[in-house]
């Protein structure tokens, strides 16, 4: 069999590593085999490519503080400000959920770096809420990481004549993706994209070609990576209207989100919806913004719309379930979580949530088995700590304070920075009259998390010496 045919077949089967290997062999025999070269580039790229329109990258996250237009935006117009106000406004907190570390607001943990592998990571509300800052600068190193697994880099960027490749339209795109995803060399990728766009516009002057959109998107991608978000927003506002792909809409909306203008992003999404009606990706973008703006009703109705078009959208199911759970309809939440299980989301978070739902719906016989399942499935330490923390709540609900105390102690053992568990242990200690210990635990809890309102409140109560049964548990 012709080795090149075999390579194409391997590529079709998504066996990229094998494909790349075969292509390398071909190229060793004949260094001028362009088709094999492209195929290898594509295979290597496909192995590590991810959908970067979905992910708010940590790099951009780090620059967003300076990219943001204003630090004090009017309430309801900024995702950053709304979290602040929610925390300050305790009067409204009775019906909205306080977003703390272990009780995230959303049903889905997004922006998670582990989601870059290709599948969208659906973790659960009570599951891992990894703080954004902790994800660190992993993404910017992603390029180098994947390179090291590749072991050999067959394209030496410094020696490539980019202008020459940019003129060849069939070579330029794979090369761009290789530079962007595999090498992580955004600077060269951007240069290539710029030159390709120029040569393209020279070729077909005046006639607007759809291919141009690819390069516009490519440039926007590179600019996001480089943190030049403002430049996208400022240079591309004219072309997102005539965008021919959803990528453009998503990219522009994303850049608006990075500079913290959710309303502008919302408008971009809505314009995109006019062009691509019923597009679930755009719809979920809208739903996420509503969620960030604390408009849970709007968010849930958008998620419901998504389910109409795509009934297996796990993000929508999980978010609606979380909404039901928090609005006092655990039965509905249970149904939805079971649906998630049926769809094959077989992980610790879902089981933990089902356990909590069972608890709320008085189906006590299912609580412990689900919890055990969750504990068996939990691999990461953080996750395990969360599940023990929730197990503590189950103990509390069943009146077994000793179980609760044990669970929370386990939580603290696994994750020493778990301030909520610390606070809860303090309350238990106070109930048993161990004032000194309780006080110390509260102070420890506050030192872990300064704005933990419950711990502050408890401490105040303790100071006032009327330590009645008013302590707050989280």
């Amino acid at each position: 069999m012709d080795p090149f045919y075999a390579a194409v077949s391997l590529y079709r089967k998504r066996n990229f590593v094998q494909c790349a290997r075969v292509c390398t062999d071909i190229l060793q025999e004949n260094g001028q085999h362009q088709a094999a070269w492209i195929l290898k580039v594509r295979a290597v790229t496909q192995r590590v490519a991810f959908d970067d329109t979905e992910v708010l990258e940590n790099l951009a996250e780090a620059t967003s503080a300076e990219n943001r237009w204003t630090k004090t935006a009017p309430s309801g117009t900024s995702t950053v400000a709304s979290i602040k106000t929610a925390k300050q406004d305790k009067t409204t907190a009775s019906n909205t959920r306080p977003p703390t570390q272990s009780r995230p607001f959303s049903g889905v943990v997004r922006l998670n770096h582990s989601g870059l592998g290709g599948t969208h990571d659906i973790s659960n509300s009570q599951g891992t809420a990894k703080s954004r800052a902790q994800t660190g600068r992993l993404l910017s190193r992603l390029g180098t990481a994947s390179l090291s697994t590749e072991a050999e880099s067959f394209i030496n960027v410094a020696r490539i004549n980019l202008a020459q490749y940019a003129a060849l339209s069939q070579l330029a795109k794979p090369l761009f993706e290789y530079l962007y995803f595999v090498q992580g060399d955004v600077k060269s990728a951007l240069e290539l994209a710029n030159q390709a766009q120029q040569s393209l516009s020279l070729l077909q002057s005046c006639s607007k070609d759809e291919k141009n959109h690819y390069w516009k998107c490519a440039i926007a991608r590179c600019l996001v990576r480089l943190g030049l978000v403002r430049q996208i927003v400022q240079t591309t506002s004219e072309w997102h209207i005539e965008m021919n792909t959803t990528d453009g809409v998503l990219l522009i909306a994303k850049s608006y989100l990075i500079i913290d203008q959710p309303m502008a992003a919302l408008e971009v999404y809505k314009k995109g919806l006019e062009k691509f009606p019923k597009d679930t990706v755009i719809l979920s973008g809208i739903a996420r913004i509503y969620e960030d703006l604390q408009k849970s009703e709007d968010s849930v109705s958008t998620y419901k719309e998504i389910l109409k078009y795509d009934c297996s959208n796990t993000e929508a199911v999980a978010c609606i379930a979380a909404y039901f759970f928090y609005t006092g309809q655990p039965e509905w939440a249970l149904v939805l979580y079971r649906r998630l299980l049926q769809m094959g989301i077989h992980n610790a978070e879902v089981f933990c949530n089902i356990a909590l739902c069972c608890l709320k719906t008085q189906q006590f016989d299912m609580v412990i088995p689900c919890m055990e399942n969750a504990l068996n499935l939990a691999v990461k330490d953080d996750l395990l700590a969360m599940i023990w923390y929730n197990a503590g709540h189950i103990g509390l609900a069943m009146g077994d304070l000793q179980l609760a105390e044990l669970c929370w102690k386990l939580t603290r053992r696994i994750n020493a920075h778990h301030c909520e568990a610390c606070n809860n242990l303090a309350v238990l200690a106070l109930l048993e009259g161990r004032i000194q210990e309780g006080n110390a635990l509260l102070l420890a809890s506050l030192s872990l998390c300064e704005d933990l309102a419950e711990a502050k409140f408890n401490l105040e109560q303790l100071m006032n010496q009327d330590n009645g049964p008013t302590e707050c548990l989280i």
Binding site: E66, W69, T72, E191, C206, Q234, E267
Partner: protein, 697 residues
């Protein structure tokens, strides 16, 4: 006639022309609140809320670009329109949302927003480095036009009374241009850079110049002007005496402001801020919610004074009518009194001197000629000239008059006139002379017109061996008799009349002062003419003047450019492309550098937490050198940017001149086609347009 109603401290310094008012409606039950929005020196915009938003009365917007101009939005009251050195941004403060942003390569110099011409929708007009651009609210370009210099002031108002607003633009070289439906309808030449423009009532508009002149135009005619040694820093129109006609309010650099009657320029009201405050802006807005717009005076230190007319209640039509009647009477009496005064003075004078005194009654003769480098005003007469005073608007570098005293008196005088621009002005020459043996002197005022092209010095036609080709050669056809062309030349040039006597053709050679660039014109009897010059702007000015004089609606021309100049032009245009590419690359390099520094910073934090001093030192050293590199990159970028600006301006000027070599639809077509060519970076096409115009419009 104005009463102070409110003084507010902003506690922020304000820059001239960079403050405006935005209005917010926070929720349904609270009313509208007004906030001052202004630029700071640190590339930020402050918003000073009347009600504190999130415990902070002052909100800062981080723009990251040098802000050149600010104004509010006529429909979205909570939005602010910002022009920066490279972008136009429309940002809604209440919704924290960018409504529109558009890259303006040439930089924004002035912005005006509103609906104008027949189109009912809101448009933004941007004036900048030799261009004028009109965008709709989606950011799409409606039209584009070239200007002769940096656009410094823009205003929208109805100057022809058709019920629609039109655009006026003022430039740094003192041109006022009126546009209608994207086409320039007329051009007025002023004497210095136009700094402010404001619309008044009844097809009038007020203007202010950098040299301290302020005045009012009614359509194309100037009603009045006043010149002061102080600078005007703000201009507004506000009805001070509540008579239904707004007065022109000028804010001066020394902290005074005055209201002048729109028709006569008479000062109606004077006001003064404290001595340490200088005015930076005048706004008219009902920001205190009093039901009547206030006149707001902003000082540099951020104090805001709000004024209202004092007799606001007594407004009635009758009162206005009465006032009109009395005004007319008063005016008549005043005129008569002045006449009486003059007559009395004359009588007194005659009585004193008596009839015996001999008064020199020789005539004075005025002629305009050229000497080596200047236009020369020659005075000749039988009497002895003691002194000469020449008044001419905008002719002399500092001031409007030029005085010469001759001691001892002489019979003839030559006064060099430093003519810098092609502008027809009237010279008011006051000659003081007397006879040698008389004590009394006589003053004669002579008005002599200075022709438009007075600085074109006529020289003899170069001999065949000296007849080198000039850079530009323009050819066109004009269906006029040669005598009429001779008449045009006689009226607008200083040319000895014997050169114009020929019936078949007129051949003239000039040197344009003060650079003495050669220029030749040949008009032939059959209707064709040719102009040769080294500078395209001279040619274009001649063509425009010729077209207005003979009322030519459309004129197509052919231009020839010598090869070396053609190469020069192409190099200029190629240079722009190169600079743009470099600019892009530098931006990316800087972003990359910033990311690198950020990484090093994180590393250093890690090292600090782990008490690894050696590593920490290494990181800080890396940050330091990275920072130095950033500074260097920024310097390179700055110089690159200014170079790019210079070239873009040259290209715009080139388009301006080449389009001005055509008239009517050929002119606008060339502008539009050039814009397309520049956008597509098709410089060959641009050059072709320069040479041949549009063949089939």
């Amino acid at each position: 006639m104005l009463t102070l109603v409110n003084v507010t401290e902003l506690n922020l310094s304000v820059f001239p022309g960079q403050i405006t008012i935005c209005k917010f409606k926070e929720n349904v039950d609270t009313g509208i609140t007004s906030s001052y929005v202004g630029a700071t020196s640190a590339n930020k915009v402050f918003v000073r809320h009347t009600n504190p938003v999130q415990q902070d009365q002052i909100q800062y917007l981080n723009i990251d670009q040098r802000i050149t101009t600010l104004c509010n939005h006529p429909v979205h009251h909570s939005a602010v329109v910002m022009g920066t050195a490279s972008h136009l941004l429309v940002y809604d403060i209440a919704e924290n949302r960018t409504i529109m942003s558009k890259e303006i390569e040439n930089g924004v110099g002035a912005v005006v927003i509103g609906s104008f011409d027949e189109a009912g929708e809101i448009n933004v007009i941007i004036g900048g480095n030799c261009f004028l651009q009109c965008l709709n609210m989606e950011g799409n370009e409606r039209y584009w036009n070239v200007m002769s210099d940096q656009v410094s002031a823009l205003a929208l108002f109805d100057f022809d009374g058709d019920g629609h607003n039109h655009l006026i633009a003022g430039t740094d070289d003192g041109n006022l241009r009126l546009f209608k439906n994207g086409r320039m309808t007329s051009e007025i030449k002023e004497t210095d850079a136009v700094t402010y423009l404001t619309a008044l009532t009844d097809h009038c508009f007020g203007y202010a110049l950098a040299n301290g002149t302020v005045g009012v135009y009614h359509k194309r005619n100037r009603l009045w002007r006043v010149k002061s040694k102080n600078h005007i820093v703000a201009l507004a129109s506000y009805d001070v005496d509540n008579d239904g006609h707004p007065e022109l309010i000028c804010g001066w650099s020394h902290g005074r402001f005055d209201a002048r009657h729109w028709q006569t320029g008479e000062v109606v009201f004077k006001g003064k801020l404290d001595s340490q405050h200088s005015i930076v802006a005048l706004l008219v807005d009902d920001w205190l919610q009093m039901g009547h717009a206030q006149l707001i005076v902003c000082s540099q230190l951020g104090q805001v004074w709000s004024y209202l007319p004092s007799d606001l209640e007594s407004t009635s039509l009758d009162r206005i009518k009465d006032e009109y009647a009395t005004q007319a009477e008063e005016e008549a009496i005043r005129m008569l009194l002045i006449r009486k005064q003059n007559l009395l003075a004359e009588l007194e004078h005659i009585r004193q001197s008596g009839p015996s005194t001999e008064i020199a009654d020789e005539e004075m003769h005025l002629t305009l000629t050229h000497n080596q480098n200047n236009v020369l005003l020659q005075l000749e007469g039988g009497a002895m000239i003691n002194a000469v005073i020449v008044f001419a608007e905008g002719l002399f570098a500092n001031g409007e008059s030029h005085a010469l005293h001759y001691d001892p008196p002489r019979t003839s005088a030559g006064i060099p006139l430093p003519v810098q621009r092609n502008l027809a002005v009237d010279l008011h020459v006051n000659v003081i002379f007397g006879s040698p043996n008389s004590e009394l002197l006589k003053v004669v005022e002579i008005v002599h017109p200075l022709p438009t092209f007075s600085r074109f010095k006529s020289v003899s036609w170069p001999s065949a061996e000296n007849l080198s080709a000039l850079q530009f050669r323009l050819m066109a056809r004009l269906q006029e008799r040669i005598q009429r062309i001779g008449f045009w030349i006689a009226q607008n040039f200083i040319v000895p009349p014997e050169l114009l006597t020929s019936d078949t053709s007129i051949e003239l050679a000039f040197e344009v002062l003060p650079w003495r660039t050669p220029l030749r014109m040949i008009f032939r009897n059959e209707g064709s003419f040719m102009i040769e010059s080294d500078r395209l702007d001279h040619v274009s000015e001649l063509i425009q003047h010729l077209a207005t004089f003979f009322n030519v609606q459309h004129l197509a021309t052919e231009i020839e450019i010598r090869d070396d100049h053609r190469k020069q032009l192409l190099e200029l245009m190629e240079g722009v492309r190169g600079y743009q590419a470099i600019r892009q690359r530098l931006t990316v390099d800087m972003a990359d550098q910033v990311n690198e520094i950020r990484n090093w910073y994180n590393e250093s934090e890690n090292a600090r937490l782990m008490n690894d001093t050696v590593e920490m030192k290494r990181c800080y050293a890396a940050i330091l050198s990275g920072n130095q590199q950033l500074v260097d990159l920024q310097n390179i970028r700055d110089s690159n940017y200014s170079e790019l600006m210079k070239r873009l301006k040259q290209i715009n000027l080139h388009v301006q001149h080449s389009s001005n070599c055509r008239v009517g639809k050929y002119q606008t077509d060339v502008i539009q086609a050039s814009r397309q060519a520049i956008k597509a970076e098709d410089f060959e096409q641009l050059l072709k347009l320069t040479l041949h115009g549009i063949e089939n419009p």
